[in-house]
């Protein structure tokens, strides 16, 4: 650096047309960005921890006798804003919430399921994209892992908004969790709006049929809805990125179903696994299988034009071909896999 700085001419009032650029190795910039990001996060965390600690300390020092509504309210406020930001985006995604839960999901991603993501370069770095994947695993862990895979392994670090099933938008705890981590309810209006805004979307067209299937039907992709995702992609001219998730089928092996048990709670299915509900809350612990998330070549639909969306035969044909592509990717992965636990 110092030898380039020596020869800057003064006077003339003109800058040299070209400055000698410092050549950097390809990894340096990325590493620097990572570093800065980590620093920023640590700083924010320290600040947050501080305010929470202060609030707690105040509550403790004032004692139980001095506990009144106002201080309780302030304490609750500090607790809430410790892991929520004061503003969300228009769809309800909360950046701080995602950050606060990230260590947990990162643990699941890197240690518990040891996710191996390939082909992330197929996900568009800019503009709209529709990632279509197979759904499995009773609870929507696969969506969260898909989101993390794109966030961590794709150079653009994009937020992939998942289109969540209706049932998850109705359930307590899960509904705000999904919406704050950037998911929106799966509806054609939402999908079209987001794609027109140039967002990256992830969708599981199998829906409930995919996520709640029995263990013996594992890795057999169910029907792809009514092709709604194809219609939206055609209308907006968005490329479809097929994605195969392997390993999620075995985290909660569904050996039987007792749907009548779930009905009073508004659940569309009630799975019986080797551990749930026999072990109680412990049965909710997903099994530590080895996952892989493969992104395939993007499928460009622009040749059909937006009017192709009105052709049901074409829509069904495209939906079926996407399903076959993903099925092939899953089968290829399964053929290479030697162990459920170690890949």
């Amino acid at each position: 650096m110092s030898d380039t700085a020596k020869v800057v001419p003064i006077g003339r009032g003109r800058r040299p047309a070209r400055r000698p650029r410092v050549k950097t190795e390809p990894g340096v910039l990325e590493r620097r960005v990572d570093e800065l990001e980590r620093e920023l996060r640590a700083e924010r965390q320290a600040k947050r921890g501080d305010s929470l600690l202060v609030a707690l300390a105040r509550a403790v020092s004032s004692g139980a006798g001095a506990l009144d509504w106002a201080s309780l309210g302030r304490l609750q406020r500090a607790l809430y804003f410790a892991w929520h930001s004061e503003e969300t985006d228009a769809y309800g995604a909360d950046a701080r919430f995602g950050e606060a839960l990230e260590p947990f999901f990162e643990f699941l991603y890197a240690m518990w399921w040891r996710v191996e993501a390939t082909g992330t370069e197929n996900v568009p770095a800019r503009g709209a994209g529709l990632v279509v994947a197979n759904h499995s695993g009773v609870l929507p862990y696969d969506g969260l892992m898909l989101q993390l895979a794109i966030k961590h392994e794709h150079p653009a670090r994009r937020l992939c908004r998942m289109l969540a099933l209706d049932m998850f938008a109705l359930l307590p705890v899960l509904a705000p969790l999904l919406s704050k981590s950037g998911s929106v309810r799966a509806s054609p209006e939402n999908a079209e709006r987001l794609l027109r805004e140039g967002e990256l979307l992830g969708v599981f067209p199998e829906g409930v049929k995919g996520i709640g299937k029995r263990y013996r039907e594992r890795y057999k992709l169910a029907r792809f809805g009514r092709g709604g995702f194809v219609r939206v992609a055609l209308r907006t001219g968005t490329p479809i990125v097929p994605c195969a998730i392997v390993g999620a089928e075995e985290i909660h092996p569904v050996v039987g179903k007792a749907d009548w048990l779930g009905r009073p709670f508004g659940l569309p299915y009630f799975p019986l696994t080797p551990t749930f509900p026999w072990l109680g809350p412990l049965g909710l612990l997903p099994l530590p299988t080895k996952w892989s998330i493969d992104f395939g070549e993007p499928i460009d639909l622009r040749e059909h034009g937006p009017e192709g969306a009105e052709d049901p035969i074409l829509v069904n044909r495209i939906a079926e071909s996407v399903r076959e592509t993903i099925q092939k990717m899953v089968d290829g992965r399964l053929a290479r896999r030697r162990s459920v636990w170690f890949g």
Partner: protein, 338 residues
């Protein structure tokens, strides 16, 4: 000069609108129609006392519109707060609008503007992230409060279809919150502890009254433009709102909360019937793109600013009002939700 008739001038929005119209167009251009006279501070405003729930109201309205040469009607006689007396609310909102629309059509009124609520879409888990104007109101709602408003809109549109001379604008305002607002929302926000549903945190839209007034004025200037949502710039979540107001939240599981709320309402203690729990459970965020397109309405406040303006008004001793001022520098950023 043709006049503008304004009903529901005793309501918050109607009263504010009356003041604004008198200030801008002069007292002679406005006619207040309400069972209560307008405040004495507004001098020279023409007022006709009329009860919309009475059987002969439509006949009297026709006479009145003809006598006073009315060509535009702004109908703001709706209840923001649910009433225990649902049959009276039905008579006023649904039947009253029927009378008003019939009279407006018969008297050759050109433009009928209805004050409505984004809550008429109904709060449901299946709602899209942004409700657009083409979504039908939830006329099968379990809340009489919502059904009456949906019916009122339907009456206005059916007369508009039969009498093409009568143009209709329905302004669906998001929940009003700001200085001077008194509704059951503000009563909930004045309590020390608020019960919330365990595990739910939907997005809310809180509209500052200044924005609502601006949109109403633009709609009057624009002419008939069917249904238009009037919403703030950005939404915020329910728990964020409650915690910004330093409330203690008491989470209640929803299977228990509904019967409890019904009991609470039935015994006369609760602020609202159990159906309103849906609005604390699921989002009903409306899209403001049409207001921008057709009315040229650009909201100045976000939901958070509306909330802070209200808190500064409600708790002047602890809240600084400065925080509630909209920042012009921010315009342009983050108005997707508006």
């Amino acid at each position: 000069m043709p006049r503008l008739a304004l009903t529901g001038t005793a309501s918050f929005l109607g009263g504010r609108l009356l003041r604004r119209l008198v200030a801008e167009r002069g007292a002679d251009a406005v006619l207040a129609v309400d069972i209560a006279p307008p405040p004495t501070t507004l001098q020279g405003v023409r007022h006709r006392m009329l009860d919309l729930t009475l059987p002969g109201a439509d006949r009297r309205l026709v006479e009145l519109f003809r006598e006073e040469d009315v060509d535009t009607v702004f109908h703001a006689a709706f209840f923001t707060t649910p009433r225990r007396d649902t049959s009276y609310a039905h008579e006023l909102e649904s039947i009253g609008t029927l009378h008003l629309a019939a009279a407006a059509a018969a008297a050759g009124v050109r433009h009928l503007v209805l004050r409505s609520f984004t809550a008429v879409y109904g709060a449901r888990g299946q709602n899209p992230s942004f409700l657009t104007e083409d979504k039908r109101p939830d006329s099968g709602s379990r809340l009489a409060w919502v059904r009456d408003k949906a019916e009122a809109e339907e009456h206005a549109f059916s007369f508009s279809r039969r009498y093409p001379g009568l143009g209709v604008t329905v302004l669906r305002f998001a929940t009003l919150l700001g200085p001077g607002v008194h509704s059951f929302y503000t009563r909930l926000l004045s309590k020390r502890a608020v019960a919330v549903l365990l595990g739910y945190d939907p997005l809310l839209q809180l509209l500052h009254p200044d924005d609502a007034l601006e949109a109403a004025m633009l709609a009057l200037a624009q002419g008939p433009s069917q249904v238009v949502n009037v919403v703030p710039r950005t939404p915020l979540t329910l728990l964020t709102a409650l915690h910004l107001a330093d409330k203690v939240t008491l989470p209640v599981p929803h299977p228990v909360a509904y019967p409890l709320a019904e009991l609470w309402w039935g015994t006369g203690v609760g602020e609202a019937p159990a159906g309103f729990l849906d609005y604390a459970r699921f989002p009903f965020v409306a899209d403001g793109a049409k207001a921008r397109r057709t009315l040229g309405f650009e909201p100045r406040y976000t939901s958070r600013q509306a909330l802070e303006a209200f808190l500064a008004y409600r708790y002047p001793e602890t809240r600084r009002p400065a925080a509630a001022e909209p920042e012009p520098a921010e315009a342009g950023a983050g108005e997707i939700g508006a």
